[in-house]
């Protein structure tokens, strides 16, 4: 009886425990959703800010080389997401706008747009991976 009770407790505790353990990504996303970008928060004793990696890239010196590097990175991820059939609608438009901004010597604008495109492309690839692992959970039984 005691053994059965322990097994039941373990079975019940497992999913609950998984839900309670917050990863850095979960905390980051929660803080970002609540406070927007640039908000300071702590995780396991260390301080972080709610910037996406692409936004940090866009904080580099606004010049043609940096803008073009960000656009190149965005295009590479866009191609990767398109290859698996998960390209999002606005990525292409943001890249085109970023390229136009480079042509007009508006490098900060170009970097901001390219960062947005790169972020969306990265998220679309993450979405594909998540779907591959979990799509079946939505099927009624």
């Amino acid at each position: 009886m005691k053994k059965a009770a322990w097994m039941l407790a373990a079975a019940l505790a497992l999913p609950t425990g998984l839900v309670q353990a917050e990863t850095f990504e979960e905390v980051f996303n929660q803080q970002r959703a609540l406070y927007g970008k640039g908000h300071e928060f702590t995780f396991e004793g260390k301080t972080y800010k709610t910037f996406h990696p692409e936004e940090v890239e866009a904080m580099a010196e606004p010049n043609q080389a940096n803008a073009e590097a960000l656009i190149k990175g965005a295009k590479a991820l866009q191609a990767e997401s398109a290859a698996v059939g998960y390209e999002w609608r606005d990525v292409s438009r943001y890249i085109q706008q970023a390229e136009a901004a480079v042509g007009e010597q508006q490098f900060q604008r170009a970097m901001d747009l390219a960062a947005r495109a790169k972020y969306q492309a990265r998220m679309s690839i993450a979405q594909h991976k998540e779907v591959e692992a979990s799509w079946y959970r939505a099927v009624p039984e």
Binding site: W6, M7, A10, L14, W88, E130, W135, P140, E141
Partner: protein, 288 residues
């Protein structure tokens, strides 16, 4: 130590039970069971909308939302697809330049066959849709193919659906060709997979979201959805094909949409129409 072992054993059992649950849902070629999927979907809707007869689902949202039904009944006093239907018949019966007709390309002269589409073509190793074969017929007879989404192809398809009215859908998945089952599984996966910046799957709107407001719209149930296509949509102001709707839905998730009659959309149609097996053809239809 004994307590720890017991705890680990219990946790292992819990994890295994989750895996077993996943396996039951049929998400691999070895475990997928189209008939079980179809019955599970019917049961889902019977629980979701108790009292709605299964055969009513061919009417989409109008089967499950009385207020929308009232407006639709009024609209259907003069069905908006009637002129398209007449034009479709004329197009269907008009000979090509070589003297042959659409009737020469299809079983039974193309009359009363809509309920068998889409089907698995083992020779080509592909899902074939009615619209695809309409265009193939044209090309085989020296005519230019029609555009996929609207216009003449939708009108011809509408006429062919009309000649099949009240015939139950009978989509088959040949057991002697595992590629057919794989195509069904791919279509099923597409239906349940989230896409686009809005992270939406077909199922989010047309399963969980059936009759739940998305802004001012009430998405219809997926059961019975392909039965009434092609449709005149009030939003379009004209008649259009199922794949036009697929493309629009896909774009609405903020994805780069696939083109009509793409391999993925044809597999989606295969899955979705199989789910409606037993329900009757009632195309063409009218929708918001």
């Amino acid at each position: 130590m004994k307590t720890l072992k017991t705890f680990v054993l219990g946790a292992g059992l819990a994890a295994l039970s989750q895996l077993a649950q996943a396996a039951d849902s049929g998400f691999t070629l070895e475990t997928v069971d189209p008939e079980a999927d179809r019955l599970a979907l019917q049961q889902y809707y019977q629980k979701r909308f108790p009292g709605v007869p299964l055969e009513e689902y061919v009417n989409g949202i109008y089967a499950v939302d009385p207020a929308s039904r009232e407006q639709w009944d009024a609209l259907m006093e003069f069905p908006p697809y009637e002129f398209d239907l007449e034009e479709g018949q004329v197009l269907f019966e008009t000979p090509f330049a070589n003297g042959k007709r659409y009737a020469d390309c299809f079983d039974n002269g193309g009359i009363g066959i809509r309920q068998n589409y889409p089907y698995w073509n083992s020779e080509e190793g592909a899902v074939k849709t009615l619209e695809q074969e309409i265009n193939q017929c044209r090309e085989q007879n020296g005519e230019a193919p029609l555009k996929w989404k609207k216009g003449d192809i939708a009108k011809i398809s509408a006429y062919m659906a009309w000649t099949s009215r009240d015939k139950p859908f009978d989509i088959k998945i040949p057991q002697d060709d595992p590629r057919a089952l794989q195509a069904y599984l791919d279509g099923k996966k597409f239906f349940y997979a989230k896409r686009g910046q809005l992270n939406l799957s077909c199922a989010n709107c047309h399963l969980d979201g059936s009759r739940i407001l998305i802004r001012a719209d009430l998405p219809g149930p997926t059961l019975g959805q392909p039965t009434h296509f092609p449709v005149v949509r009030s939003k379009w102001g004209e008649i259009g094909t199922l794949h036009r709707r697929y493309e629009g839905c896909h774009r609405d998730t903020r994805s780069v949409p696939l083109p009509p009659q793409s391999d993925e959309f044809r597999k989606l149609e295969y899955f979705q129409t199989y789910m409606s097996n037993g329900l009757v053809v009632n195309g063409p239809g009218a929708r918001k």
